[in-house]
């Protein structure tokens, strides 16, 4: 363990413990923060040491001067001692960084304009990155808010309740297997009637999520028994809003769907499931003989927790095995391929691709910003050549100067990133308010440690990235030469090559972004021009739901008697009548589920104009809607053949149906279907014995009209075959309908009057979800619209940065060649020739950038395929249009400085030093 002057005593023998080493390191690191204090203390200590020594010497008899000299000699070089001490006191590395940072701050203050411009670019570039990362972090990276969430699987295959019970009891791969579905209920009493969304769940639902109620008790298996099922668990939000967070509500009943439900628990705050804002949990239970609890009603989704040793693939296989068992035991069951996937994956898969694309775009923007900044610093580096040459000439190591220059750019980036974090923090509020149908988990978006760490990383990487080339170029000089010749004149071919290469890269990247944005915009435009099959203008929609207990005769319903729905038919007929008489209303109708809400109701249709299939499974599933009033006229859906429903189509009259064009195309080969007979419930021959009463007979419907195709799924999906049936004749207990009100005055102004009329018919039935049809259409486009806007913004930003970059490089090149231009002009070259000379290089640069960009775009836009509607990923219109746009912008950016250069006086140009 030898030592030298530079490293006093590695210490004694035996080395230091780790703790001791760490503590020493810590002391050294923190001392860098207040070097001044330490310097002062050392000075004081050495001064007092000298004094004492001098005194001793004098006392020993030396003359004062001799005393002082001897003392100093003994101390062995004051400055040297101080130097060794300094090195020991702190970490030289940190000292260096602190010193560099101080110097960098001084330089930044000196060139304020440059610093401001750089900070602006950095804030926008890093800020966009941080915002995107915050979103990606919350939606894709952060695990769901349940304990051990990776074990939760979602079984999305719609399942019938008896099948669910089989899966639950006989599965081997899950430790917990629960099911759920959503329904809307009206809460009355204790205030204004309110329609809330309710999660109807099996008793082990909360157990599967491992999220027990905060107050009260969880559901228990006995709650699934019909009769014991009228219990409810409220969410924290509903409890606070409607019941003023009163803890005594637990144990008391509330009125839900016109029935009393006892509150047994309150969920912890912040509980959410699938982002669908359910307000209460109610146990799943079916009355004996309830039609819903049969093998041919599939509406349950399941969420389950894997057993400790199970895998998703194994779970999938296990459920499929059970599915086969069920088919073997109940042949009328369709039996389906079970689709098991992780809960998180199911929640985000819709948006995962879009988020990746947007994240990639924002990284591109940052890279373009870095290229711009690198060019900026390169230009400034040329101006600082003398300063740096001087520093190297008097002995500064190149490495140190390089490090110091790099510190400048990293410091710029760090400052920019601090501003970027502030920018992100301001935008979190806006992000939180985005609807969860557009983007899941928006409520949870916030800045956390991961985001900050990412921003810090990006800041340092950005600083290094754009600072590397300029710093390298700066120290790569011959100081003698640089000091001699003064400022650079004439061309700098290598420098120009680097700068041109950077601008080429910028142009290529912005081209890719612009093309991507162009494709999204074209796709969006295509969606808005889709013929949805109806006219959404001047139409108001209102959701109305009636409690089944009051309006449906359950005993009759179990016997499949159409008389069960007399009261509900009367209700809706009366409501439609009431609203029709309102001033300004030109037509009013109602339908089970509006267009663009999804293909939510399907029936297996039997055609009686052809031989019956052999099994129930061969009956084709066709979309089914019940309508009331003047639906087709209210929504302006053209009737292509035959007639619409009339008031004469009552429960006792002949059963009629209207089919859509797609159904005629697919099942009648475009022949005239008027007069043909169908049924929406299977014929008795195909129904397994024992599941229906012996007097069961499916209603036969005669087709009386053909309606134009309406997009019930979404604007982007083609219409499916569909059959309409009047509410009076085929409602099958549908108790929620959407009123469609067309008005030639402002339809939104009618909402108060409509609410009033509904209340007159039944004061306990609230009107909810009042929206114009136009708004609904617009909302269905929210996701593609948001994507197009965000990508368009990024592309616009990229275009701006690339334009600025092009301008900067051309301007600098023109300035470099001022002398040459002066000479040319002096010997007679015309302005136009000079312009062509300068622009020539610029045009080559732009063309090369565009060429590279086109190649990249052709490859990269393939990633957008699933996000586009009606647009190919190599759409020539977009490619050509964007190329022209970018080329024009770039050429204008190149032209302005070139033009300015030609305006110079030759004499002034020649004199330019």
């Amino acid at each position: 363990m030898a030592a030298d002057d530079r490293h006093p005593c590695p210490l004694l023998r035996g080395g230091l413990s780790v703790v001791r080493r760490l503590r020493a390191f810590w002391r050294r690191a923190t001392s860098a923060l207040h070097p001044g204090r330490w310097e002062r203390e050392l000075d004081e200590e050495l001064a007092s040491h000298l004094e004492m020594h001098v005194e001793d010497n004098i006392r020993a008899g030396m003359p004062p001067e001799e005393a002082r000299r001897s003392a100093l000699l003994k101390l062995g070089g004051l400055e040297q001692a101080k130097e060794i001490y300094r090195d020991r006191r702190s970490l030289p590395a940190i000292d260096m960084i602190v010193q560099d940072a101080r110097f960098a701050l001084r330089m930044m203050r000196r060139s304020r304009g440059l610093t401001a411009a750089a900070l602006l670019v950095l804030t926008l570039g890093i800020g966009a990155n941080t915002v995107m990362f915050t979103v990606v972090n919350t939606v894709l990276l952060r695990p769901l808010p349940y304990p051990d969430p990776s074990r939760l699987q979602l079984v999305q295959t719609a399942t019938a309740p008896p099948d669910y019970y089989v899966y639950r009891s006989r599965n081997r791969a899950f430790q917990s297997f629960s099911s759920f579905y959503f329904r809307s209920f009206d809460v009355t009493g204790d205030g204004e009637p309110e329609r809330i969304r309710v999660l109807i769940v099996s008793s082990d639902f909360l157990g599967t999520l491992r999220t027990p109620p905060a107050i009260g008790r969880d559901l228990q298996p006995r709650d699934e028994q019909w009769g014991d099922h009228r219990v409810v668990i409220l969410t924290d939000g509903l409890w606070r809003r409607r019941y003023a967070a009163d803890p005594s509500i637990v144990g008391r009943p509330i009125v839900l769907g016109a029935e009393p439900y006892t509150v047994v628990g309150i969920l912890p705050p912040g509980f959410s499931f699938l982002g669908r804002e359910a307000q209460a949990l109610v146990p799943m239970s079916f009355a004996p003989g309830d039609n819903l609890n049969t093998h041919n009603n599939y509406f349950l989704t399941m969420v389950a927790r894997l057993a400790a040793d199970a895998t998703p693939a194994g779970a999938n296989a296990d459920l499929n095995r059970l599915s086969q068992q069920i088919i073997a035991e109940h042949p009328e069951n369709r039996g389906t391929q079970m689709d098991v996937r992780s809960l998180h994956g199911a929640l985000v898969e819709d948006v995962r691709r879009a988020l990746f694309v947007l994240f990639g775009a924002v990284v591109f923007v940052l890279l373009i910003a870095c290229a711009d900044l690198a060019n900026l610093l390169l230009a400034r580096a040329a101006a600082r050549r003398r300063e740096i040459a001087l520093r190297i000439a008097i002995g500064a190591s190149r490495r140190r100067v390089f490090g110091q220059l790099l510190t400048e750019s990293v410091l710029l980036a760090v400052c920019g990133s601090a501003l970027a974090v502030i920018l992100t923090w301001l935008s979190v509020g806006t992000l939180n308010s985005l609807s969860q149908t557009v983007l899941p988990r928006t409520r949870d978006i916030r800045i956390d440690g991961v985001v900050l760490a990412y921003t810090a990383l990006v800041a340092v990487a950005t600083g290094v990235l754009f600072g590397l080339a300029p710093a390298w170029r700066s120290v790569d000089i011959d100081p003698g030469q640089a000091l001699h010749e003064g400022a650079r004149t004439g061309e700098d071919p290598r420098g120009h090559r680097i700068r041109s290469a950077l601008v080429m890269a910028e142009i290529a990247m912005s081209l890719v972004l612009l093309i991507g944005a162009g494709l999204m915009v074209k796709s969006m435009h295509g969606l808005t021009r889709v013929d949805a099959g109806f006219d959404p203008h001047d139409v108001l929609t209102v959701q109305v739901g009636i409690p089944p207990r009051k309006y449906v005769d359950e005993a009759l319903e179990r016997r499949f008697s159409p008389q069960a729905y007399v009261k509900s038919t009367r209700f809706f007929t009366e409501v439609v009548e009431q609203i029709r008489t309102l001033p300004g209303v030109s037509a009013v109708g109602a339908i089970y589920a509006l267009p663009l809400m999804g293909e939510v109701w399907g029936k297996n249709v039997t055609f009686y104009d052809r031989p019956l299939p052999a099994t129930i499974r061969e009956l084709p599933p066709i979309q089914y809607r019940v309508v009331a009033g003047d639906y087709f006229r209210a929504l302006a859906v053209p009737i292509l053949k035959g007639r619409a429903f009339a008031e004469t189509d009552t429960a006792d009259a002949a059963k009629v149906a209207i089919v859509n064009r797609e159904m005629v195309r697919r099942y009648w080969n475009d022949q005239d279907p008027i007069g043909k007979v169908i049924s929406v419930n299977p014929p008795i021959q195909l129904v397994p014995r024992g599941t229906v009463p012996p007097d069961y007979k499916p209603e036969l419907f005669t087709v009386v009209g053909v309606a134009a195709d309406v997009r019930y799924g979404s604007l982007g999906t083609a219409p499916l075959p569909l059959v309409y049936v009047p509410f009076a004749q085929g409602s099958e207990g549908a108790t929620t309908m959407y009123l469609v009100v067309r008005s030639h005055t402002d339809p939104a102004g009618l909402s108060a009057a409509i609410r009033d009329r509904i209340r007159q018919v039944d004061p306990d039935v609230p009107a909810s979800s009042i929206q114009t049809m136009e708004d609904r259409v617009s909302a269905s486009l929210a996701q593609p619209r948001l994507r197009a806007i965000v990508l368009g913004t990024f592309a616009g930003l990229a275009l701006l940065l690339a334009g600025v970059g092009t301008y900067g490089v051309m301007s600098y090149a023109a300035r470099q060649r001022t002398r040459e231009i002066g000479i040319r002009m002096a010997i007679g070259a015309s302005s136009r020739a000079i312009l062509k000379l300068l622009l020539g290089r610029g045009a080559v640069m732009v063309a090369a950038g565009i060429g590279a960009g086109l190649l990249c775009a052709l490859a990269l836009t393939r990633a957008l395929r699933t996000l586009l509607f009606g647009v190919s990923t190599s759409d020539p219109l977009v490619f050509v249009g964007v190329t022209i746009l970018l080329a024009s912008v770039a050429m204008v950016a190149a032209w302005v400085p070139a033009r300015r250069a030609t305006r110079l006086e030759p004499v002034a140009a020649l004199r330019e030093e």
Partner: protein, 113 residues
Amino acid sequence: MDDKLDVQQGTLALMVLKTLQTMGPLHGYGIARRIEQTSGDLLTINYGTLYPALLKLEQDGYVASAWGVSENNRRAKFYRLARAGRAQVEKEARAWRQTTAILARFFAADSPS
């Protein structure tokens, strides 16, 4: 006088610790004088190198420092042995005695008869 040995930095720290153990808290100048005294003036130490050594001992936690007033009313920085330093002195003393004992055998075999 010219036979004075240059002290190795490695042992300087041990001498400082031992001095503090014997003398109690002392300022830097005092430690330097005392070391020279103890060695019977056979050692030359560069007083300047003492201070970095003291700093290292302080950073490693073997000594602690505090400003105080010296014998002749001067403000000076005093150093005292910390608990870890006390333990270290004992350990080193033991090791040193062992080493010298072993080496003594070798040199004893060498002594002129």
